[in-house]
């Protein structure tokens, strides 16, 4: 009897064997806290940098840093940056860079301003701006991917080209949009709720959705794989070029939202809209812990990086130092963050 049992027990695919071996691959949630810290160490590192920086500011000027006005002003402008920092994390993860987003911000918000100025509903303007952003993102992405150009140079060129186009047509003139103040769009996207600028809620929603897209969606999974090993991704049937174009379209969408929000804050569109965001936004991505070489990154880290960079500007001035210190502290935080992330991140290639 025992003889007849034997083959079953020794069969390599027998049920008993699998049951016993089943214990050997642990589920990641078996040690979730350790896993969480390891998976998010870049973002957590950025958070530590931010907390230390804020503590220093608090000590330097306790009066200013305990008044709500300071935070309120940061929360008004921060969302604009967040809408472009987050898509840029995707681009950098994919192994590319996009320097054309400031011009896309200007271009999309110009379309928004034109639609509103013509007397249409601001919602229609937002839709038009989003469409413009998508088209420009697609244009820039196609140029880089299908044209086989270096994204660093090509997007820089597109930034100048689009900005130049805006300036040529508008001859440097701005557009005032006072009618915005009474619109529903303004109430929903740009008013205050219990003293908190409402745009920060939209920005947080955008960050959360994007973080899910990055970590829990096919799009994010493919962006990471393409940035990590495009040859392998290609061999496994991923349309590498399509994924690359998609990340540029995503930046276009983010830039359009950011541009529209910046116009709604000021009720005015300037031909230079978006220009000032180039360097702070790029700095935020890398301060946030996304490395330059592609394949990995962190959306939440990028968002915390944006918060950090926004507070440097406000904080240095509020702490009683002259504006000349802003650049110095910006640089200091960037360098310290990079050193921290280098030590924090194992590099596999």
């Amino acid at each position: 009897m025992s003889k007849t049992m034997e083959p079953d027990l020794q069969s390599p695919l027998g049920g008993t064997h699998n049951e016993a071996a089943g214990k050997e691959w642990r589920h990641p949630s078996d040690n979730w806290l350790r896993g969480f810290i390891l998976d998010n160490r870049a973002a957590l590192g950025t958070l530590v940098v931010f907390i230390v920086m804020m503590a220093v500011f608090m000590i330097a000027n306790p009066v200013v840093f305990t008044t709500w006005y300071l935070y309120s002003s940061v929360l008004t402008t921060l969302p604009v940056a967040l809408f472009v920092v987050v898509p840029l994390v995707f681009v950098v993860t994919c192994g590319e860079i996009d320097l054309s987003f400031p011009a896309t911000m200007g271009f999309a918000s110009w379309v928004f301003a034109l639609v509103v100025q013509a007397g249409y509903d601001p919602f229609l303007g937002i839709a038009a701006a989003l469409l413009t952003g998508m088209l420009l993102g697609f244009l820039v992405g196609s140029l880089v991917v299908y044209g086989g150009l270096s994204s660093l140079i090509a997007t820089l060129g597109m930034n100048f080209l689009l900005r130049g186009l805006i300036q040529i047509i508008n001859e440097g003139k701005s557009t005032a949009l006072t009618s915005l103040a009474d619109s529903w769009a303004y109430k929903i996207f740009s008013s205050q709720l219990y003293g908190i600028p409402v745009q920060i809620f939209w920005a947080i929603g955008f960050v959360v959705l994007s973080a899910l897209l990055y970590n829990r969606h096919r799009f994010g999974a493919q962006v990471k794989v393409v940035g990590d090993n495009p040859d392998s991704a290609q061999q496994m049937g991923i349309d590498v070029k399509r994924v690359r174009v998609k990340v540029f379209v995503f930046v276009g969408i983010g830039a359009a939202i950011a541009g529209t929000f910046s116009v709604m804050i000021n009720f005015t569109w300037w031909p230079t809209a978006g220009d000032g965001y180039l360097l702070p936004v790029l700095a935020s991505v890398f301060v946030g812990g996304t490395p330059t070489w592609g394949g990995i990154g962190t959306v939440v880290g990028g968002a915390i990086g944006a918060v950090t960079v926004s507070f440097i500007q406000t904080g240095v001035v509020a702490a009683g130092l002259s504006g000349f210190y802003v650049q110095f502290f910006n640089g200091l935080i960037i360098i310290l963050s990079l050193l921290g992330h280098k030590w924090n991140q194992a590099r596999y290639r």
């Binding site: 390599p12 695919l13 699998n18 071996a21 089943g22 050997e24 691959w25 642990r26 589920h27 990641p28 078996d30 896993g35 998976d39 899910l212 829990r216 969606h217 096919r218 799009f219 999974a221 493919q222 990471k224 794989v225 990590d228 090993n229 040859d231 392998s232 991704a233 061999q235 496994m236 049937g237 991923i238 394949g295 990995i296 194992a346 596999y348 290639r349």
Partner: protein, 265 residues
């Protein structure tokens, strides 16, 4: 008895005036490990490219499960269940095991959101199936943390997930230590036990000898030897044979097992 999964008949390939392959016959049966040995430039990589459909043969016939196939291509090769694992560029090393296994074929539900738990379950099952067990790693471990042999395991698990019937391993043990090689052999044996076939390519005869059921020695675009395991007494036999092929006149002092590597090169 055994049914060939794929059969190459009289395959030739020339690039302009240069012959890469001149009339090669090769067949792989179900549940069999075939060792393909050859010098650099013997035509191994051309043969792999033809098998995976990347390169078209100049002449010859390809049969899948006994039936001739016309219009051989990468898609046909995939449909036939042939999956090639290249040594260096197979995996995305900064990603998790799960992300590598499901690369390009993510398990998604509504609107493309990943089914994270199902992926973990499925990955664990695949790894167990090829005999890759671990108490240290989880399916969410980064591939870069794994050893060379374990990485091959991930690549093999991915091929099995893609329903591969024939897995072509391109020099899977060339850069590996002995313990790591043993791991790869363990995976290969498990895959064979599950009824799948493996074409094991290498230039180290000792490596191939220990694992293969059949040997095919390629030399200057031709099959110099095709032998069953039972026909070859030892690895030294095979080495001597290859030396005779490489140096028909015979070089004194080279007939030494220790020179196996050099002879094979």
């Amino acid at each position: 008895m055994a049914e060939p999964i794929i059969e190459l008949r009289d395959i030739s390939k020339s690039y302009g005036q240069v012959y890469a392959l001149g009339g090669v016959n090769l067949s792989v049966d179900r549940g069999e490990v075939v060792g393909l040995i050859g010098d650099n430039g013997a035509g191994k990589s051309t043969l792999i490219k033809i098998l995976s459909g990347v390169v078209q043969p100049t002449s010859g016939e390809i049969l899948v499960r006994g039936k001739p196939v016309t219009g051989w291509s990468a898609a046909r090769s995939r449909d036939a269940g042939i999956e090639t694992v290249f040594q260096d560029r197979a995996l995305a090393v900064q990603q998790t095991i799960v992300r590598n296994i499901f690369m390009g074929r993510e398990l998604t539900g509504w609107l493309g959101w990943l089914k994270v738990n199902k992926e973990i379950e499925e990955a664990s099952r695949l790894m167990r199936e090829i005999g890759f067990t671990s108490k240290v790693f989880t399916p969410h471990s980064i591939v870069g943390q794994l050893s060379g042999g374990e990485r091959q395991g991930v690549a093999i698990a991915r091929a099995i997930y893609k329903k591969a019937e024939l897995i072509v391993l391109d020099e899977p043990t060339t850069a590996l230590s002995l313990t790591e090689t043993a791991k790869v052999f363990h995976f290969v044996r498990q895959v064979r036990a599950s009824g799948r076939s493996i074409l094991f390519i290498g230039h180290n005869i000792h490596h191939v000898f220990d694992i293969a059921d059949r040997f095919v020695v390629l030399d200057r675009g031709k099959v110099a030897l095709a032998a069953d395991r039972s026909e070859v007494k030892s690895a030294e036999d095979l080495i001597n044979f290859m030396e005779d092929v490489a140096h028909p006149g015979g070089l004194p002092g080279l007939h030494d097992a220790n020179d196996a590597g050099r002879a094979a090169q």
